[in-house]
Subunit: 431 residues, 2 copies
């Protein structure tokens, strides 16, 4: 499936390139002067980050390292203004500065980010600054109906060809895969994820399934093909819905699967199963109660449900840069916050599984494929786009690996439904 | 193990017997008059409960039935004052009135309670009254250190012989068993529960385990015997600790298991595993943060934890009568409320399993054994004690069967611990 990628120069992440030509490709011919104030800023930055074992290399080649451990990775900072921006709001500005090449990482990007994340997480100074900045500046975009469409368009309508380059071939799953044994291929692990979810939902032939947020439609087709269920799959990404419909028609599943270009809030009808894989992140913390109302409205008395979502151990906004450039309006909820979906209508949570480290593996597969197609992507978009996506995937690996992000699968039914399996052994019979 | 039960007339639930001799055994010789007001009260009670398919039989034999469905069970009300009390606060007074025999159930007690629970749960009038009464009158006892001792003494120190009559022989587990197949015996299912928890905790020989709330010590001995771990088991029930120490000595496990008569808040030392089965119900909603502090203080960086507790789908106090007569200070938390334990210290919830229907099965075994020993229990305590316990177990069955109560097992680790299994298949290898 490694076909050509459609030119898509119109898509841009709008990353500003504020310098006078220091765009990463060029190392300035004559390094500009490093002032005592620049050195002070560099030391201050390391202090703020809790003295991680990292070295900052300034634009004249001068190295500033944290006092404590032996440095294990190096960040090359190309100009004084970049250093200044980093110090003002590292979580927000690092992303743009890296994307346009005003910061380079000498060594493994993922390892560098993991070190920085771990250090920052245990630095009270950094936590204090981040909390204040979040309160003052980071206003995540909201998710009322029209806004959701804009937010989703920003991320998912940038070109199906692009996603085809690095997602699994078979089902185009842009969500955490499941590696019951860690050496599965990405294709095997995405298949295993879909099978795992289907077992959790105890699908029976003829079941009516509603899917909230169907991506490129792979999971809906999987359910229809392997379990004989009828699926109504809601999605507000136009490009994804067009793609999904074509695929279903080509695979003669269009009689079983209905891709509906509409918001989850407009789900209509009655269903035996509600499932949502990787949409809750886009629902926004103010709308979980509404989602619960939708489920209550559409689920049969003995219906089953599953929500699969990125989450947190404690409440915290999405990283400011990710929210700004990659996922506008996104918010990963804690389990406590997710209970807003379930409590009001007394849904019963039957099973929660945390697959955090499975997302590390999934993302490693994705970034490896992204890097393999780097030339093609840079040619179709631009260098900043490629570097931003590389950073987004690498940063996500670091966040899942250091425990800053979680992946929850939550199975539920109505509170008075006694048609429940006696154990979860049926989930593991085939493994 | 069906040995004699020690006389224990000193133990009383202090249930008042307010009538002039109408103590259940006697049907009054000449039935007293039923007034139009009595009939009005009876109809009002059925209306309040949402017109359940139940018949109220008044003390003169007159029957009042709900208008709707065909009645499937009958409650015999022995006097007008009992009817009056029922109408004023059914959740609180039914228990005492049943215990002293001023209400009798004609038919299956459990079925009667399930019908009443389901009807009341969907009766807006009843829910409104209960909410107001809870707010005004039900002040559950609190759980500061000294109070906890009193609360626990009230329930657990009423005689080990009594509990031996109807709990499983091998391990005296007074918590929900696990029935991976529904036809297990109680002994098999309690063993299966202990094995299931041990697998979830991934015990290794030499692990240091701390148990908060150890009951009669059966689970601590199980862990030591079958997994070669050392256990510090905390408990503030004096009689349970005495019993547990004797058992451990007799089984030559006293070198491995240390039963400590102290509060969970005083847990000292460092442990690889934290486990608590059926204690959280007694911790009280104001103390979950404190429990989290204790766990944070004692757990190693790669330690594992499990909390097993009765819970709710939405916040609601313990039934007023149960809280008053049976479990002072008890409160079953929602998952949202349980997060107070985990969020502050960023523990990562890895696995939640809801075993609600397993408690229905467990309780059915218990009540069947209790009934088998009814004569012995009545002789050692009194008739009201026996009937109160029968009602408590039957009411618990109804609460779990109708979805009013849940049973959560929550597995967790520290948020940055990456030593996690790739799947939960290891929990099901032996099933």
């Amino acid at each position: 499936m490694d076909k050509g990628i459609q030119k898509n120069k119109a898509v841009s992440l709008n990353i500003p390139d504020i310098t006078d030509g220091a765009t990463g490709d060029e190392v300035p011919g004559a390094p500009s002067r490093v002032s005592p104030f620049d050195r002070w800023m560099a030391r201050k930055l390391l202090d703020l980050l809790g003295e991680p074992p990292l070295t900052l290399v300034l634009w004249n080649g001068e190295e500033i390292a944290a006092s404590s451990d032996k440095p294990v990775a190096r960040a090359l900072i190309r100009d004084g203004e970049a250093l200044n921006q980093l110090l003002i709001n590292p979580a927000l500005h690092f992303g743009d500065l890296y994307s346009v090449g005003r910061i380079e990482i000498d060594g493994d990007l993922i390892e560098f980010l993991e070190i920085a994340y771990r250090a920052a997480a245990s630095s009270p100074k950094y936590q204090k600054l981040k909390a204040a900045q979040t309160r003052l500046f980071n206003r995540p975009r909201t998710n009322r109906l029209a806004e959701s469409r804009d937010n989703i368009h920003h991320h998912y309508d940038i070109g199906n060809d692009f996603y085809e380059l690095w997602l699994d071939d078979a089902a185009m799953q842009y969500t955490c895969a499941y590696f019951p044994s860690p050496d599965l291929t990405l294709e095997q692990a995405q298949r295993a994820k879909m099978d795992h979810v289907c077992r959790k939902l105890r699908l029976k032939p003829g079941d009516r399934v509603v899917e909230a947020g169907g991506g490129w439609g792979g999971f809906a087709r999987h359910m229809a093909r392997h379990h004989g269920v009828r699926v109504a799959s809601y999605n507000i990404s136009h490009q994804q819905v067009v793609y999904a419909r074509e695929k279903a028609k080509a695979e003669r599943l269009d009689g079983m699967v209905d891709y509906i270009e509409d918001d989850y809030r407009n789900i209509a009808g009655e269903y035996d199963v509600f499932v949502s894989i990787g949409m809750l992140e886009h629902v926004g913390r103010d709308h979980y109660g509404e989602l619960g109302d939708v489920i209550d409205r559409c689920l049969t008395p003995d219906g089953r449900g599953l929500i699969h979502s990125i989450g947190r151990n404690k409440p915290e906004r999405m990283n400011a840069w990710i929210e700004k450039r990659i996922f506008p309006g996104a918010y990963p909820p804690t389990l406590r916050e997710m209970m807003d979906i379930y409590e009001k209508h007394e849904f019963s949570v039957l099973d929660v599984e945390n697959l955090r480290l499975h997302y590390v593996k999934t993302l490693r597969h994705w970034i490896e494929r992204l890097n393999r197609h780097a030339g093609k992507i840079e040619a179709s978009y631009d260098r900043a786009f490629l570097r931003a996506w590389r950073l987004y995937l690498a940063g996500s690996i670091a966040a899942f690996a250091t425990g800053s992000l979680q992946l929850f699968q939550v199975v539920f039914t109505r509170g008075d439904n006694n048609d429940l399996p006696w154990s979860r052994a049926h989930l593991y019979r085939e493994e």
